[in-house]
Point group: C2
DNA sequence: GCTGAGCCCTGAAGCCGGGTGAGAGTCAAG
DNA sequence: CTTGACTCTCACCCGGCTTCAGGGCTCAGC
């Protein structure tokens, strides 16, 4: 009945409360195209029937739903619930990230004596540990290591092994695009074929302990590198991180021990390289 | 002592855990420039002293602090606390916005019988009300009106006036870039010079009631416009919104009455325009 | 028929915070 | 001298639009 009632883009913009430029953009990306385009003038003609779609788009965009997802909802209404639940999850993670940032910002604000790290020099003894390798983009190192440790944990449980020390991970000092290393844990018994194992780097190493949020871990590395320069030494192998209180959800008790094997000045490079 | 120790961009990138491309970018926007640039080769030389700054930048960027704010912090350490508190507030509003979006998304998911609006035709009688004008960008209409009503509220309190009906606002139907209109409230007495007052639009009007989150208000407008088309009428003056349960923080009881003055077919346009 | 106002069109460029790639120059080791 | 790793600049890409320049269409008034 109202099918012949057509609106120029300006009328449609006022009705839908969307800017004209945005409507043209939505036409370009095929999110919402006019019912008809005059073939001679190129004028866009919208119909009243298109208004609910425009309103839905405006609502969803205001909620931050990306146009691509909205297009999926419009073309296939049956997937709407799935897509929306997915968006819901996205917003929830965003909120969680916001909370975490808030905490870290507060740390920054209250943290005055933050960068006092004591770097010691120690000798690492050779150790054979249960290990699980990973290959991760540098940007996802921290969550990826956490996941790898979780998998190692269940592997140990299945094998009936008992952990005799803190969880850890080792990987090259220089983080390339993709970091390959392994998560590890010392265990009570090593049986061939039963479990993947690996030797940990050994020899002289610089070590320091970082407490609290992993976000400030680079500061600890900075201290280690400064000490390295001071001694005129250079890195002698993959770095080693040991995590304690990993299972404790309270972030403030979380601690990381960093061990960086070194070649001291006037020394031959470590064998095996 | 270590002042002569210089790092090429690659070394500095590994130490600071920032991508080389980002370091070059930060140089371009003068957020973090190398201590020295070789005049013949153009090679950037960073010093160890710049590492803490790089680490600080990385931390703040990870928290979503924009580079411009970080630059302010770096050039003037005394403003750091101010800037950080400001960022803190920004994140808090972000989280709040996320929560609101979540609620609205849930409304979308649960809302099935959403778009049933009954549009009635009524006659508005002329009324003189206490008023406070506003001029707002269309995008900030809703919060701006809320703020204007708050100012009107305190003006009424100062003048010892008593409100005799719901808060409201009126503004043109076609939202231009800047919307000029006024917030109003009917009061018990009108005395010249005592309070700004204004007449409300009168005559025949279409009206409907919207309940719940303001985010879905456009649906109500859509229903009003559809009714307008059906009657072959056109808008006859600024639209009028009346808000009840505005003071109640519970969003689900919030209701808006929309009144759109109209010119009915075959009628002369309203006088006064 | 002409003019001007107010619509409308297209295509290109700009915004942020970088990421990516081409093509060329530099440096140290063998 | 060559090789390979490193560096440089310049320019273009992303999303989700907005804005601008340069034009065409339509209608009312004269």
């Amino acid at each position: 009945m109202t099918e012949r009632r057509e609106l120029m883009i300006g009328d449609f913009a006022r009705r839908s409360r969307l800017p004209i430029s945005t409507l043209r953009y939505y036409d370009r990306i095929r999110l919402l195209s006019p019912a008809l385009v005059d073939p001679t003038t190129g004028y866009r003609r919208y119909t009243l029937e298109q208004l609910p779609a425009a309103t839905l788009i405006a609502r969803l965009r205001a909620l931050g739903v990306p146009p691509a997802s909205i297009a999926r909802i419009l073309t296939d209404r049956s997937t709407a619930a799935t897509v929306l639940l997915h968006e819901r999850q996205r917003i929830e993670t965003q909120i969680e990230a916001g909370r975490r940032r808030l905490r870290q910002l507060d740390e920054l604000l209250t943290d005055d004596a933050q960068s006092t790290y004591d770097v010691d020099i120690v000798t690492l003894h050779p150790r054979e540990v249960a290990a699980l390798p990973f290959l991760l983009p540098a940007a996802e190192l921290e969550p990826g290591v956490t996941r790898t440790i979780a998998r190692l944990r269940s592997a140990l449980r299945h094998g009936g092994h008992r952990r005799t020390g803190p969880w850890g991970a080792t990987f090259p000092v220089d983080l390339a695009d993709n970091v390959s290393g392994f998560a590890f844990a010392p265990v009570d018994r090593i049986e061939p074929g039963d479990l993947d194992t690996a030797p940990l780097p050994a020899g002289r190493a610089l070590t320091t302990i970082h407490r609290g949020s992993p976000a400030t871990l680079p500061l600890a590395y900075h201290a280690v590198f400064a000490s390295l320069d001071q001694r005129g030494a250079c890195p002698g192998g993959p770095v080693l991180e040991e995590y304690t209180n990993l299972d404790n959800p309270n972030e403030s008790t979380f601690t990381v021990r960093i061990c960086l094997p070194i070649n001291e000045p006037g020394e031959h490079p470590a064998p095996g390289h």
